[in-house]
């Protein structure tokens, strides 16, 4: 078992190394085999681990060697292989494998070196993400956490000759580092409180531990999770991250990396179960972000931006789920979101690919006729996103909402549910708007391509597979309609436990109401944007539209608070400090060092007599020092 778990990591590592080192020389065919091949190899191994865990539910703590041993600080290189890790591994390598295979076609126009570089980065990402979920201690968790941040940075800025891509990459990196700092501080507190950094050790030492310290740990860890998962208020990087190639958006900024925050809370659930304030904060952050992002998505015109905001919104649901301790529901939604969001991004990618990189959906229109397969797949994804029965999104979202609605813990969960309920209706509306504008009606006169072709097989097959998964994937957990199929909950029960409260009165009625309202909102888009029989709502409320188009002015706010202050103080420092002090004194620190080296170099004359003299001088100084010490 230990070797297999390690091999899961080694495959993408080897793939990345080969592609990275051989980037200039490997033939394209080799890149096409290695890039996705290693991910599928990992997938098979994870599938074996999954099969094995069905009969052996107890978690394995596999320690390979001691990485650091310094005083009381001990970090083993270990893997904590429980069902949560295997579940995440399946999503990462399975959906990841599909997306990387899809990218073979999507990235075909790149030069050979760029092509290899792309798959190298993708394999690095898979490696980092697997490290993140398989790590058995907080130190390697941070390693994986930083690794996904790095690969996300590299991939957002993949087209580095585009200025906007570079800026977006930088923004994502800076935001993520804010989160990393939170996590690292949290780990410090963990080490100070428990004197160890392994999950098993820390969790075993939890009972009876001082709660304020746990609250602090949980809040600091949450900072990391909020940044990585693009939740309020560290969310501004995600929409900009859409500058990366579409497969990147599908894999990293929708299906896997951005859900790391949910994984983190789930992994640390023994801490969050005790730290109630932090846990409630998780739920509140999630619910507010879900609503916030859904309102912005309504006015977006760029198809990838709509998807980006819907991602934020859906991850908000997951946060809401883990925040009310309905872990199985949150992870179910994580999986279902990976299916339908990857599906949406990839079929959206087919459209973008066919439309010569045009992303403004007002310039599409009527694509249903020319790209029928893509249009149907996109519709499946949209309905799943909107939470329409029988698609996977319905079962998972309503499991979260149901759990929040009937949790017997005062007013808080119900108010969270109310926000989620409103969001669900908005989701139906913006999803419908996106689909109707893009695929129905008449072709837009501004289309860059008159007659786009359906995507090639390598790009269509993964999309169809995901469409099937998004259609039937929900049948493994049907608690939303009180059908007693609970495969996900059963599988994850040994790790995160079951949802401890049962559905209350009215829950079923509420679910049906949500479904009907979301479907109605979806259909409303047809009336507004295709039949044009209803007026566009924003005409009546121009003020609201401007607020939403500026995304509640968050970018402007951050710019004013952080960027401008920084620039101002930098400029002040330049005139007050830099010029008179640093440059006035000997030309900065670097030149000070080299000029002192110049003085020292005088002694390095090359003459033996100088050397002997200095040698002797040194000995004399030593003698004098000695006399001084002894005396």
């Amino acid at each position: 078992m230990a070797q297999i778990a390690l091999a899961v990591l080694l495959f993408p590592a080897a793939g990345a190394a080969v592609l990275g080192l051989g980037a200039l020389r490997l033939p394209r065919r080799a890149v096409q085999v290695i890039g996705p091949g290693v991910v599928w190899a990992s997938f098979l191994l994870v599938a074996y681990l999954f099969w094995h865990s069905l009969s052996h539910p107890q978690p394995l703590n596999l320690t390979y060697w001691t990485w650091v041993h310094s005083g009381s600080f001990q970090v083993p290189a270990n893997i904590y292989l429980d069902r949560l890790a295997i579940f995440m591994g399946l999503v990462i390598t399975g959906v990841g494998g599909l997306i990387i295979t899809y990218a073979l076609g999507y990235m075909e126009h790149e030069s050979d070196a760029s092509y290899a570089r792309f798959f190298c980065y993708m394999d690095v990402f898979i490696l980092s993400m697997l490290t993140l979920v398989l790590s058995g201690n907080f130190v390697f968790l941070i390693v994986g956490w930083a690794g996904v941040g790095l690969s996300s940075y590299l991939l957002i800025g993949f087209w580095y000759w585009r200025w906007t891509a570079v800026i977006a990459a930088r923004k994502a990196f800076v935001m993520n580092v804010v989160g990393d700092i939170g996590m690292i501080l949290g780990t410090f507190i963990i080490f100070v409180s428990f004197h160890q950094v392994t999950y098993t050790g820390v969790f075993a030492a939890l009972p009876g531990h001082d709660t304020p310290a746990l609250e602090a740990i949980a809040f600091l860890m949450l900072v990391g999770g909020v940044a990585k998962s693009a939740q309020l208020p560290l969310h501004t990087w995600l929409p900009d991250a859409m500058e990366g190639p579409t497969p990147v958006s599908a894999l990293i900024h929708a299906a896997t990396m951005v859900t790391a925050g949910v994984y983190l809370v789930g992994r640390l659930h023994p801490i969050y179960d005790v730290a109630h304030y932090a846990q409630d904060t998780v739920a509140a952050v999630g619910a507010v972000t879900a609503l916030f992002a859904a309102t912005i998505a309504i006015v977006q015109t760029d198809i990838k931006k709509v998807l980006a905001y819907s991602t934020m919104s859906q991850i908000g649901y997951m946060f809401l789920g883990v925040g009310v301790a309905a872990y199985a529901a949150a992870f179910f939604h994580l999986m279902s979101h990976a299916f339908f969001k990857a599906l949406l991004f990839m079929s959206g990618g087919n459209v973008i690919h066919g439309m010569k990189d045009e992303q403004d959906m007002r310039r599409y229109g009527g694509l249903l006729r020319q790209m029928p397969a893509t249009a149907i797949c996109f519709l499946v994804g949209s309905l799943a996103l909107a939470g329409i029965i029988p698609f996977v999104g319905f079962w998972s979202k309503d499991m979260i909402l149901g759990a929040a609605f009937s949790k017997p813990a005062g007013q808080f969960p119900v108010s969270m549910w109310a926000i989620g309920f409103v969001t669900a209706i908005l989701t139906g509306f913006y999803t419908g708007r996106m689909w109707w504008i893009s695929f129905a009606g008449k072709p837009s006169p501004d289309r860059p391509v008159e007659r786009p072709h359906e995507a090639q097989a390598v790009m269509l097959v993964p999309v169809v597979i995901l469409a099937v998964l998004a259609t039937v994937g929900g049948f493994i957990q049907m608690t939303a309609l009180h059908v007693n199929v609970t495969l996900i909950e059963n599988f994850l029960a040994p790790t995160v436990g079951r949802i401890s409260w049962s559905g209350g009165a009215l829950e079923l009625e509420v679910t049906v109401a949500t479904l009907i309202l979301a479907l109605a909102a979806f259909g409303l888009g047809y009336l507004i944007y295709v039949r044009r029989s209803l007026p566009v709502w924003s005409r009546a409320l121009p003020f609201l539209q401007r607020l939403l188009e500026h995304k509640y002015y968050f970018d402007e706010l951050y710019d004013a608070i952080f960027v401008q202050t920084m620039n101002l103080s930098a400029r002040g420092g330049d005139t007050l400090l830099e010029e008179p002090v640093v440059e006035g004194t000997p030309e900065g620190v670097g030149s000070a060092a080299s000029s002192s080296a110049g003085i020292l170099a005088l002694a390095q004359s090359g003459y033996f007599r100088t050397y002997a003299l200095i040698f002797l001088g040194g000995a004399l100084v030593a003698l004098i020092v000695l006399v001084a010490v002894r005396a």
Binding site: L21, W65, H69, A593, A601, F608, Y611, G618, A622
Partner: protein, 501 residues
């Protein structure tokens, strides 16, 4: 060597065969290299001219591998003890260094074989001298008498005096050899006077006996003994190229052929530290105050001067020479801190340093052309694009020298510095940390040249031997960074035979 040791025994002592065998077993790795050396000389006389080089090289490697095998075996048995009436020992400390030098010897022969052919230099003589140097270094690790210490010291020095001037047509090489001989003789004189004074105070050359006799009060106020310690310290500081006794280093490193520089930069330094630990820590614990202050000052000066001077160098060999001076300063912290943690850190660093510093020099052999070495920073331009594997390995070496995790150099510094802090030498560690920050600038400057996007340039001289040596070094530099406990544990075991303070 055996003959020399036998001659030092009084005539009336009976010396049965079983004793002779037992003594020889204790120094088997050294004796085996000596035997290989003699066989190599013979082979050089017998074989036809065009076969000599390769044959002697293979014999040398084979002999060193066997010697390494002996050493590893003794390491696991761990029951080594004194031999030859206490003049040498086969304890774990000695065996640790025997393993280190056997590995180093193999790497040196691998690199020099291709290098000498490229430059058209005499080959078999070179390998014989390499082996002689290895014997001297191993002797320093195993020596438990001032006499044996001096024997080993001179054996290794003489080998280097010759090999430094191996490029006989080049004036720089001649200058380097002459300078090294003169300054080296100067330093040897210091060591010898120091030894004489210590002997005068203690009445014995055996290190454990010296330690015992000087432990008694009364001898300690002896100013001549203090003078002896200072003289020894100066000579030792010369050997590790500590400031201000370092000035030969850049000149000699630059003038000597690359394999010699690589060999010397790692081997002489490790041997000298073995000698320092044997003589100062083992034999002169009563004089700790004297040598500690001396070494601490040398350490601080080396870190400051070495790192500053390295910034302005344009020749990579000179740059690495100054970096080596600075690195010696770091290692001295471990000696000054002492104790098992300090000495264990020293041994860890020396073994890890073997790989990443040797590798950095050895990579430069791909730039060698028949007319010279071409080791300017500019000559490295685009190396990473012309040969990505070499570029990555050079990056590993430079980052390890600079002390970036997760490479061996990071943990080397970490263990040294934490030992220093634990022993209360905070000011020294503060200097060390600041100096390492400065050092990053020039190590990264090398990488800047390596990764300059430029694919044009003279053809690289890539041969299997040097590349294998470099690759092994790179892999181990990474391995000891990922799994430092492996080597640190060995370092602690190796330091165990030295009596703690």
């Amino acid at each position: 060597m055996t003959a020399v040791l036998l001659a030092s025994l009084p005539a009336h002592v009976s010396y049965p065969f079983s004793q002779a065998l037992s003594d020889l077993t204790q120094i088997a790795p050294i004796a085996w290299v000596t035997l290989t050396l003699l066989l190599c000389v013979l082979a050089d006389l017998i074989l036809p001219r065009h076969r000599r080089g390769t044959a002697v090289a293979s014999m040398a490697v084979a002999g060193l591998v066997v010697s390494l095998g002996f050493a590893v075996w003794f390491w696991y048995r761990g029951d080594g003890h004194g031999a030859y009436a206490g003049y040498v020992t086969g304890d774990r400390f000695a065996v640790f260094f025997e393993m280190l030098f056997a590995v180093l010897g193999i790497l040196v022969v691998l690199v020099s074989h291709a290098y000498l052919r490229r430059r058209g230099m005499l080959e078999s003589e070179f390998h014989v001298l390499t082996l002689a140097g290895i014997v001297g270094m191993m002797t320093l690790g195993a020596a438990t008498s001032l006499v044996t210490v001096f024997l080993g010291l001179e054996l290794l020095s003489v080998a280097f005096y010759v090999t430094c001037g191996f490029a006989r047509e080049e004036t720089t090489a001649q200058e380097a050899a002459a300078k090294y001989l003169l300054v080296g003789g100067f330093a040897s004189a210091f060591v010898l006077y120091g030894m004489a004074l210590v002997y005068g105070a203690a009445g014995s050359t055996l290190l454990p006996v010296i330690s015992q006799r000087l432990a008694h009060a009364g001898v300690l106020g002896n100013p001549l003994l203090s003078l002896g310690v200072i003289l020894l310290g100066v000579g030792f500081a010369f050997k590790v190229s500590g400031v201000p006794f370092h000035q030969w280093t850049p000149d000699v490193y630059q003038g000597a052929p690359l394999p010699v520089t690589a060999f010397m930069s790692v081997g002489t330094k490790a041997a000298a530290f073995a000698m320092i630990i044997r003589v100062f820590v083992q034999a002169l614990p009563s004089m700790t105050v004297e040598w500690q202050v001396l070494l601490a000052v040398v350490s601080a000066a080396s870190m400051i001067v070495g790192n500053l001077m390295a910034i302005v160098q344009t020749s990579v060999k000179r740059l690495l020479a100054y970096s080596g001076i600075a690195q010696a300063g770091y290692v001295l912290i471990g000696v000054v801190a002492g104790g098992r943690a300090g000495l264990g850190a020293v041994l860890f660093y020396l073994f890890a340093y073997l790989f990443f510093n040797f590798g950095a020099f050895a990579i430069l052999t791909v730039l060698v052309r028949p007319d010279g070495e071409h080791d300017d920073l500019g000559d490295l331009d685009g190396l990473g694009y012309r040969h990505p594997v070499l570029g990555v390995m050079m990056s590993i070496f430079m980052l390890s020298l600079a002390g970036f995790p997760p490479l061996a150099g990071f943990f080397g510094k970490f263990f040294l510095f934490s030992a220093g802090i634990a022993a209360g030498w905070t000011w020294l560690v503060v200097i060390a940390v600041l100096a390492s920050v400065v050092s990053v600038s020039y190590y990264l400057r090398v990488l800047l040249h390596v990764w300059t996007p430029e694919t044009a340039g003279k053809r690289l001289f890539v041969r299997a031997g040097p590349v294998a040596a470099v690759a092994v070094s790179a892999v181990l530099a990474v391995l000891f960074g990922i799994y430092p406990a492996l080597l640190y544990g060995a370092g602690l075991f190796g330091a165990a035979p030295i009596p703690g303070r």
